[in-house]
Symmetry: C2
Subunit: 205 residues, 2 copies
């Protein structure tokens, strides 16, 4: 941000907002000045929501998803298929898969992927607890729904090595051309893989 702040309080609030990812000092100033124009209730609701969330949030002791209770709504739901577990990186991924309404099993949130560059090893992720869940029995299939990146692939392979002798079926989500994408603009690795992993034509796509 160019220029000196006219108020220390303003500068402090802008400084705190600017710590958020993707928020520069200029955006932070815009957000703070917007808040100043709102009534006190609205502003305090935001401040309160942040502090309360941080103090009171829980993580499901089964799948490690964010939860208000010891065991999350998905793990506690008797209608979900307990024989199939979808392994994802983070909470957003649980929400993304849930939004498809195509999966009725349970989840396991790793909390990231193995990334030596960022200092994240297998011990920093919920991999041991996944092995324990599988060992405890009842799970027939583990679906790896990780990012199609080097780190995602490494993590998938690591989990595969940990689970391969436990008699559980391991699968990965299909990789191929995104729906709505034009072949001409699809990268060659994706396109190549989508040809190798072609599926029988079923009339509906």
């Amino acid at each position: 941000m160019n220029g000196q702040f006219p108020s220390v309080l303003l500068e402090k609030a802008v400084g705190e907002f600017a710590k958020l990812p993707g928020v520069g000092r200029k955006t932070a100033l815009r957000l703070v000045l917007h808040l100043l124009r709102q009534d006190t209730t609205t502003v305090e609701a935001l401040g309160h929501a942040i502090v309360t969330l941080k103090r009171e949030v829980k993580y499901c002791k089964v799948c490690h998803n964010i939860s208000d209770t010891e065991v999350c709504r998905i793990c506690a739901n008797p209608n979900r298929d307990r024989t199939i577990v979808c392994v994802v990186e983070n909470i957003q991924d649980v929400m993304a898969v849930e939004a498809t309404q195509q999966f009725t099993g349970l989840y396991h949130v790793l909390g990231g992927v193995i990334s030596p560059m960022d200092g994240i090893g297998p011990g920093d992720l919920q991999i041991d607890s996944l092995v324990e869940r599988v060992n405890a029995g009842g799970i027939e299939e583990v679906i790896l729904a990780l990012s199609t990146t080097m780190e995602g692939d490494t993590t998938g392979f690591y989990i595969y090595r940990k689970l391969e002798h436990l008699g559980v079926k391991l699968s990965v989500i299909a990789r191929g051309v995104s729906i709505g994408d034009e072949l001409e603009y699809t990268d060659e690795v994706t396109l190549g893989r989508s040809i190798v992993n072609r599926t029988p034509f079923s009339g509906t796509m």
Copy 2:
């Protein structure tokens, strides 16, 4: 945002963040999950900074800039030229002009521009208090540094009509081709005006 939130607390915090301008539910979720990964002190600092700012912020009673004191640092500074007042829309504009280090006078923050479409009339802005400042004497020049938009021009003209009989010099900031811009890509109104308002060549640009 797609998908149901796994936690009511999370949903509430995301909802509050999503009220900020330019922040959608997806960005709000990313910001909130980032905050969850920070330690409690950092999160509470943000919450506290927002609430404190809203409760304790003051507006300078002279120029209406944000301030920690009754009269802001600029208005209180004895080294500033009190005979010249720069009229701007908002606090960001004060910071932008200050950052140029080319202005040593005082400011007057209108709090916006006349915009009938948004229901903002002259009475919603600090125009009467500007007239009072000029009437009180001591001000020799008023510089209008407003946006070069229809609303900015309307506001400038309105202020001109209010001040023209008060024996104060009125000026507007120069409009022309931005430094670093290529003529080829400059719009014709700006380019035309920059020719009409040409200045004598002085060796430095």
